[in-house]
Structures are given as C-alpha cells and as structure tokens.
C-alpha cells in the first residue's frame, strides 16, 4: 500500500513533481478538514480505512467531508471496500466523486471509478455518515451508512444498500440494474430508485414511505418476486415493463402500479390503491395478483385495468371506489386476455361510477359484500358470446344490501343479455353457465330441469333445482333440504307431502348452485304436479335447511323460499303397447293381456287402462 498522509499543499507539490502518471490505477482519498485536507493514495481495488473521529480540543477542525475518486478523472481504477470509523455526533459527508457533497441533489457527479466494493460505516456512528456519488461500473460490496442522498451506479448493483438514518434515508438511487441478491433498505423513507439499463431484481424496504420505483426492464423475475415494502407510509408508484413483486404498504396507500409492457405476478397489500390521477393498477399482460386492501374505508379508488391479459389469483378488497371514479377492466387484445380466473371479493359496495368490464369471461366468483351500484359488462367469449361462467354474489354480508334499480349486468355483445335485477329470467346456459345472485339466493326457475312451470312428458329420472348462487345443506348428509309436494296435474290441488320418498344430491356435476332430487324409492308419477320448496326454517330450528354458501356473513343464511313446480305427463309412447306409433284399440287388448302401471302409483288398475282410452287416436310423441 502506498499511503501518503500529507497536507494538501504538499500533495499538490508532489503531484506536480511526479505528474499524473503516478496516480494511474490509483484511488485518491481526501479527508477534508476546515482548513486542510489529508490526501491518501490507494491502489485500485485496495481496501480503504478512514477514521473520521472528532477531536474536541480543536473541534473546529474535525473532518467534515471525504472525497474518494480516481484522480485525475482517468476512471481506470476500482475503489476497494471503504470502512469509516471514529466517534462522531455530527455528520461526515462522503462523496464518491471529486466535487462537493450535494445534499439531496440527485445531479450526477463526475464518475469516480469503475467498480466499487462499497462502504461500511461503523455501527456506532453510522447514522452520521451521509453518502453521495457516482461510479461507472458495478457496486460489488455492501453499503451501510446513515443517509444516501444521490447515488449513481452506471453498472449493476450486486450488494446490499442500507441507509439507517432520516429524514430521507435513501433519497435518490439510479443504477443500470439491480441484482437479485440485493436488498435496498432504509430505516425511514426511500425517495426514487430507478434502473436505467435493465432489471431491478432486488428487494426494497423502507421504514416509512417509498416515492417511486422505476425499472427500465423488469422488476423481479418469473418465479422470483421481489419485496417492495413501505412499512409505515405510501408507495407512490412502481413502474416497469413487467412486475414480479410483493408490494406492501399496509399502513398506507399504493398510488400506481404500472406494468407497461407485460403483466404482474405477486401481491399488493395496502389500505387503498389510490391516486389523484385516475391511475391505480395498470398492466399489459396476465395478472396473477393477490390483492388485499384493508382498513375501514379501503378501496380501489382509481382505475384497475388489465389490458391484454387475464386476471388470476384471489383478491380481497375491502371496498371499491368510495367517493371517486374508478373502473375495473380486464380487457383482451390481439394476443388474448380478458378472462378473470381468480376470486375477487369486495367487502363493501360496487360503487357508483365504477363500471366493471370483462372482455371475455368471468370464470370465478366475484363477491360484493354490500350493494351493487354500478353496471357490469361481460362482453363474452369470442366464440359464443357467453362469458358468465362464474358467479357474482351481491349482499354477501347479508345486511339487506341491494341490486340497485337501473343497474345492469350485460352479458354478450352481438345479442347481449341484460340482467336488470334479482330473479332474472335468462337461463344460466344462455349466459355461459354462471349466475348473478342476490343474497338470499332465490330459485332460478328458468334454469331448473325440467324448467319450472312446464309439462314434462314422461317420468323424469330426477328434478334439478338451480339457484342464483351456491347453496349447501345446513346438515351435510341425506336429509332433504327441499320439500317435495305432489298435487293434481295441471292445478296442484290436493297437494300432499311426498318428501320422504325422495333423496337429494347436492351440487350435482360439481355445480354448487344445483340441488338434485331423485326418487328414493318413489318415482315422479305422470299426471301429477310436483312442487318443490327449499326449506328455509329459521336458523337454530331442528329442521334441515338449505343455506346460501360462499358468503362474507358469518351466520347461517337460508336461501329464499321460492318454489318450483312441474306437471309430469305421460307419453303416448308409453301407451303404444303394440309399437305401431299410434295409441289405438290393439293397445287396449294388449293391456288386458299384460297390464302395466302407467301412472306409477304402484297399482295396476283401471286408472292405467283409462289413460289408453283417453288418448286413443294419438300418434306417438
């Protein structure tokens, strides 16, 4: 090590005598006092130890700034690992450059060296060390100082950076790229972090807030999300081509998350997604987002737009758009997108001026805790225009919230189906298989099989009730959650309870909106009306009850007791015992030879024969 500890005047004299060639591949360290400067030369990459202790006998003369740089600007050397020690109670300003310290000034210094192995300030005085500067190459070692005011790393940051003091622990950091091994940490606020050449793969943690993080490439990488955390404040913006990150501002708001070229994979935890400029969350590709917004008034208060991607993963949002205008859109483009696969839960309202648009399909469950107050559009699949394959639940809190009059759910574009309120008549199949349900869920008569209010020719093997939302039995098992009544054909008069002759299959085919009633052992008999009524006995009473499922409300919520009926009729084919496609006299003869129980009442009698008589001359249907 060539170490010179000399006053500045002597150093200048030596420099003049020896010329600049003596400093090639060397680093100059200048420790500035009030009236003189200690200058020391180090070999390229050599470790640098600096003691900046105050000595109180001449307190006006303790060092107040350190410059470390590749004098005279050849920038052909590396700065080794810098250690700062010495008892101090006032700041020491360290500039990795030749110029003056530029507090809170992000303007670039002249680059001080190629690579730099970092700087560690002794723990006992770390908060007093303020840093700024610029290098041309990579940061290869850690930085641990009090404050970082403006730091430019033209290359890649390979080691962690810690600023332990306040108010702006790390104000301005610009680098070519940030490696995945890096943690950027500030005990208080982080101002601006930008990569101008490539990806930002390191974690970022601020004790208070984070202003802006921008990456020229990606933030994080596939399968390796980075953490971006503001422990006690807002995160104003996070922007990159694609973002793979877990963003947390649990005590603040997230202003803007913008994946400008691709998608977002990760989590966002905050009180609000909120900003004044009508941007909130924007992505240009698939979004696999676990979004949790919490707090009494938590909301997406600005646009949430996935443009050319799908929305997956589950998101829990306290409420949406209170007192501001925001939209929720999942749009397709030429490359696809427009699907929602993840469950989305708004614990509050789907508020006014907050239209919800899905270009292709809602495949999952959208839960709205309170009121449905703004229009929803599901444009539908390009192939068939049906896009509601999942479930929308309104009033999931079961607090008497409503589907506001005049607000619609529109499914499809060419021949759109407009749902204007609960108990709409469009079938689930016409929408894509899904439903919009207002709690308590009602019976979706038009989607039952056989369809409500129709005549079923022939004995049905079963009747499947369908509801506007998922249902479960209060007591899981074989007890019937539905009453089955049999009455006169065509009128329903003289109704008797025949529930005990049937059994239930819940969620047939995996559809939680369906309840299947099957004979056990009784058959559905022709020439009778069957009426099925969900059992909605108040909770706590000792009777099997059909309950709404997948609610936010903690208690039991019986379904709405909307009944269903169907008239079961014979088929002429049953009566055509001769097989000539007509109900005719020979069939009477054949019945006399081998009588059959046409009406399924368990008795083969003249009532069965009368059915042939009543229908003589009818062709087989």
């Amino acid at each position: 090590m060539k170490r010179l500890s000399i006053v500045l005047s002597v150093a200048v004299a030596l420099m003049m005598a020896s010329g600049t060639s003596a400093q090639q591949n060397q680093i100059l360290v200048e420790v500035h006092h009030r009236t003189w400067t200690d200058s020391t030369l180090y070999d390229s990459g050599e470790d640098i130890d600096i003691n900046v202790a105050q000595y109180w006998d001449t307190d006006r003369y303790y060092p107040d700034q350190v410059n470390i740089w590749d004098d005279p600007g050849l920038v052909d050397a590396d700065i080794g690992a810098v250690s700062i020690s010495g008892n101090r109670t006032v700041p020491i300003k360290v500039t990795i450059s030749s110029g003056a310290f530029r507090a809170n000034d992000p303007t670039e210094h002249e680059e001080a060296a190629i690579n730099w192995a970092g700087i560690i300030a002794d723990q006992t005085m770390r908060d007093q060390v303020w840093l700024d500067g610029s290098i041309k190459g990579d940061l290869t070692g850690s930085i641990a100082v009090g404050q970082i005011h403006g730091l430019y790393i033209d290359g890649t940051i390979y080691s962690s950076i810690t600023a332990s003091a306040s108010p702006s622990g790390l104000f301005w950091l610009v680098a070519g790229a940030v490696d995945s091994s890096v943690s950027i940490t500030s005990a208080t606020k982080i101002g601006f972090v930008q990569t101008i050449l490539s990806d930002m793969k390191g974690t970022v943690w601020a004790g208070t807030a984070i202003d802006n993080i921008e990456a020229e490439g990606e933030i994080g990488s596939v399968g390796v999300p980075v953490s971006i955390t503001a422990a006690n404040g807002n995160i104003k913006s996070v922007q990159a081509d694609q973002i793979f990150a877990n963003i947390s501002a649990i005590n603040g708001d997230v202003g803007l998350v913008n994946a400008t070229v691709g998608g977002f994979i990760g989590k966002i935890d905050a009180i609000n997604i909120s900003h004044s400029g009508s941007q909130g969350f924007l992505a240009k590709g698939d979004v696999d987002l676990e979004l949790t917004l919490s707090g009494s008034n938590a909301a997406i208060r600005d646009d949430f737009i996935i443009d050319g991607g799908n929305f997956t993963a589950n998101s829990f949002i306290h409420s949406w758009s209170i007192g501001d205008t925001a939209v929720f859109q999942v749009l397709k483009d030429a490359n696809g997108g427009g699907y929602v696969y993840g469950d989305i839960t708004f614990t509050g309202n789907l508020s006014t001026q907050s239209p919800f648009t899905i270009d292709e399909s809602l495949e999952s469950t959208l839960t709205i805790g309170n009121n449905f107050m703004e229009n929803m559009t599901i444009k539908g699949l390009s192939s068939n225009g049906k896009g509601l394959t999942g479930q929308v639940i309104i009033n999931a809190n079961n607090n008497s919230s409503i589907w506001v009059s005049g607000k619609t759910v529109v499914v499809g574009t060419t021949n759109p189906i407009t749902l204007t309120g609960d108990e709409y008549t469009a079938t689930a199949a016409s929408l894509g298989g899904g439903a919009v349900g207002l709690v308590p869920f009602s019976t979706h008569r038009e989607s039952c099989s056989p369809v409500h209010g129709t005549v079923k020719k022939g004995t049905p093997a079963s009747i499947t009730l369908q509801f506007y939302g998922p249902v479960i039995q209060k007591v899981v098992g074989t007890d019937m959650p539905v009453k089955v009544y049999r009455g006169d054909f065509g009128t329903g008069n003289n109704e008797v309870d025949v529930t005990s002759g049937f059994a239930v299959v819940m969620a047939p085919g995996g559809d939680p909106r369906k309840v299947k009633i099957v004979p056990s052992p009784t058959q559905f008999r022709p020439k009778y009306r069957y009426r099925l009524v969900p059992i909605t006995t108040s909770p706590g009473e000792d009777e099997t009850t059909l309950l709404c499922d997948d609610l936010l409300a903690s208690g039991e919520v019986p379904v709405k007791g909307r009944d269903y009926w169907v008239d079961v009729d014979i088929t002429f084919a049953m009566l055509d015992m001769g097989g000539n496609s007509w109900v005719d006299a020979p069939d009477l003869v054949l019945w006399a030879i081998t009588p059959e129980d046409f009406n399924g009442d368990g008795n083969t009698d003249t009532q069965d024969l009368q059915l042939i008589v009543d229908n003589l001359g009818q062709p087989v249907d």
């Binding site: 110029g99 003056a100 530029r102 507090a103 809170n104 000034d105 992000p106 303007t107 670039e108 680059e111 033209d154 108010p167 702006s168 104000f171 301005w172 610009v174 070519g176 606020k189 101002g191 601006f192 930008q194 101008i196 050449l197 202003d211 802006n212 921008e214 020229e216 807002n234 104003k236 913006s237 708001d253 202003g255 803007l256 913008n258 400008t260 609000n272 909120s274 900003h275 004044s276 400029g277 009508s278 941007q279 924007l282 208060r301 646009d303 443009d307 205008t325 939209v327 483009d333 239209p355």
Partner: protein
C-alpha cells in the same frame, strides 16, 4: 417595355411579398391557449454560484424568448393525448401521465381511448406529472406543427423523434437540443434558470440580478396548501390530494417574470444532458407536489438542479413548462416585408 418591366417587377415584388409573408408566418409561433411571458434582458449576467458551483456561469441568455406562465395543464395535455390516443388501440396509453386531472372516458367506444376531465375542482388546471422527456418532446413537436392530428406532427419539428433510441449500454441517441427553427421547445437549462430566478430589476430599475428561489426571494417559500403556504410542495395530503391543487392556486407567488408554480406543481423538464460523453439522463427543475420539505427547499434553489432521469423515466412527478419563439408584432412583420421587397426591387432595377 418599361411598363412591362414595372409589371414584371411588381408581380415579382408581390410574389416575394407573399413569399416573405408565408416565410414570416412559418416562423411565427402560435399563441394557442398558453399564457406567455416574454423573457427579455438579452445577454443578462449569468448566475454566480457560490453554493456547489453547479450553476456557475449558467442562466445567461442572449436572446428574447417566450415561456409559459403555467406548467402544461391537464387541459392542454389532454388535448394532445386525445388527438392520438383515439386513433387506434395501439395508442390507447399514448403519453398518459401518472398524475393529472383527467380520466378515461368510458362513454367512448374506441378506437383507442379517450380521456375526459375528472369531476374535481379545476380539473383542467391540475398539474401534469409523470410524463417522460420524449413524450414532452413530441408535445412541442405537435405544437410546432399546428396541432395536426397526423402522426408526422409528433415525429419532428422541435426534435427528431427518430433519434429517440437507447443503446445497449444505457446511453441514448436523442437529439440533444431543439432544431434552430423550432417554434416551441423544452427550455434549455439557461432559459429555465433565467425565467425562474433572474430579475431584470433585482437591484433597481434596469439593474438585474438573481434570486435564490423562484418566488423573487432569497428565502424559500412557505410550503403548504393554498391559504397556508406559497407552493404546492413539501407536504402531502391524504390520498395524494396535493396533486388536486390546481396550477395558479398561488397567484401572488411568482418568479420575477411572473411565472407561477415554479416551486411546486410538477417538476419541469429541461434540455440539459448530463455527462455528454455518456448521455443517459436529462435534467428537470424545481420541486413538485409531494416532495419532502427538506428536499423541496433544496430543489427550488437556483444553485441546484432538480434532478435527472433517463429519457423513459418520469416518476410520478416529471412535468413540463414550454419555451417558444417571440411572436413578432404585425407591424414588425409588415415593416420587414416592405423593407425586404424594396430591397429586392432595388436590386432588380439595378440589374435591369
């Protein structure tokens, strides 16, 4: 023959006059809806920087120019964005800021996307933050080309957008300074510094000098909301509502030339390139809404740069105040035209 010569000369003169008229009009920058301030005192003394020396010798401008009293407003930027964002879906996010007073107009069915003012007070006058330098350059190109809706209108004029490319090492190839015949441009560092901090009467009538802060003072503004402070910077409001404070909300707080919101609002791009041998960032000036108090106070100093960003960087704070040609008075154009015709006729007669 003589009459014929006269006729020919007259026709020649008229043609020249018309040509000069066209030439003059081509060199005249429109006013549009900007409130322009003329920055005079050409050849003013430069700033003497006793702080860090960063601005030492800067701020002297040897010509008159115009600069907008306000930063580019939401209304002005929205007109620009809508001109192109509605042309195709590919332009749906064209030049969309982070902070401004507009929102997507969902009544518009395409192509592309249209924006409308948000339902907040003075939305049209809200600052525009989060626009990058290249978008800003395209904005002044568009103004230069008469706000044409053709794509060529944003491709050249003040800056050749075909140069807006970035190399593998992070440097850019962007045209460093505006075209000499540009009608509108992003202010140079010197132009911005002079407009913000130089006072032609700093030390008395005709005795120019510099103020440290852009409010005609050597002490920083009191940062706070209207009615409490003098600049929209150095504080935060719930829900980032500091960005809902309109430009011009501090009408009595002005630069020596009458510029508003130099401190606060959005940061303001300049042409300044740092490390000219390694161009990777451009400069911006002034504090912006939501900055820390200590930071705002430093950024508003004449002796400090606001900061630098790569050409695609914008944060949520980078905005724009534009510079422009001085508009000649009609009398000046007429006088120049007549003089030119007479001069040309004289030359023609001498030839005959």
């Amino acid at each position: 023959m003589e009459y014929g010569t006269i006729n020919i000369l007259t026709a020649h003169s008229l043609g020249l006059l018309a040509g000069l008229g066209l030439a003059a009009s081509a060199a005249v920058a429109q006013t549009y809806d900007f409130d322009w301030v003329t920055i005079g005192d050409a050849g003013n003394e430069p700033y003497e920087d006793n702080d860090l020396g960063l601005m030492d010798g800067r701020g002297s401008v040897g010509y008159e120019y115009r600069i907008s009293r306000y930063e580019v407003t939401t209304g002005q930027w929205m007109e620009f964005v809508n001109t192109f964002s509605t042309q195709s879906d590919d332009f749906a996010n064209f030049a969309r800021p982070v902070n401004w007073g507009a929102m997507i107009d969902w009544d518009y069915g395409g192509p592309g996307r249209r924006y409308k003012l948000r339902e907040v007070e003075s939305a049209e006058m809200l600052p525009v933050g989060g626009i990058d330098w290249r978008e800003s350059a395209m904005f002044v190109n568009w103004l230069h080309n008469g706000k044409s809706s053709e794509l060529w209108a944003i491709e050249d004029g003040a800056y050749d957008a075909s140069t807006f490319t970035t190399n593998g090492n992070g440097t850019f190839n962007d045209q460093p300074t505006h075209n000499p015949d540009a009608k509108f441009w992003i202010p140079t560092q010197d132009e911005w510094l002079k407009a913000a901090h130089y006072d032609p009467n700093r030390y008395g009538e005709g005795q120019g000098g510099w103020w440290q802060y852009p409010i005609s003072a050597d002490s920083p503004p009191v940062y706070g909301p209207p009615g409490e402070g003098q600049a929209n910077a150095g504080f935060e409001l719930s829900g980032f509502a500091e960005w809902n404070i309109p430009l011009g909300a501090y009408p009595d707080v002005q630069s020596p030339w009458g510029l508003l919101d130099v401190a606060g609002g959005a940061a303001e791009w300049t042409e300044e390139i740092f490390h000219e041998d390694w161009p990777s960032t451009r400069g911006f000036e002034g504090s912006w809404a939501g900055t820390d108090l200590v930071v705002a106070e430093i950024k508003d100093r004449a002796s400090r740069f606001g900061g630098t960003l790569g050409p695609g960087g914008a944060g949520d704070f980078a905005g724009l105040r534009i510079a422009s040609l001085i508009v000649p008075t009609p009398g000046a154009i007429w006088t120049f035209g007549i003089a030119a015709v007479l001069w040309l006729n004289t030359r023609t007669r001498r030839k005959t």
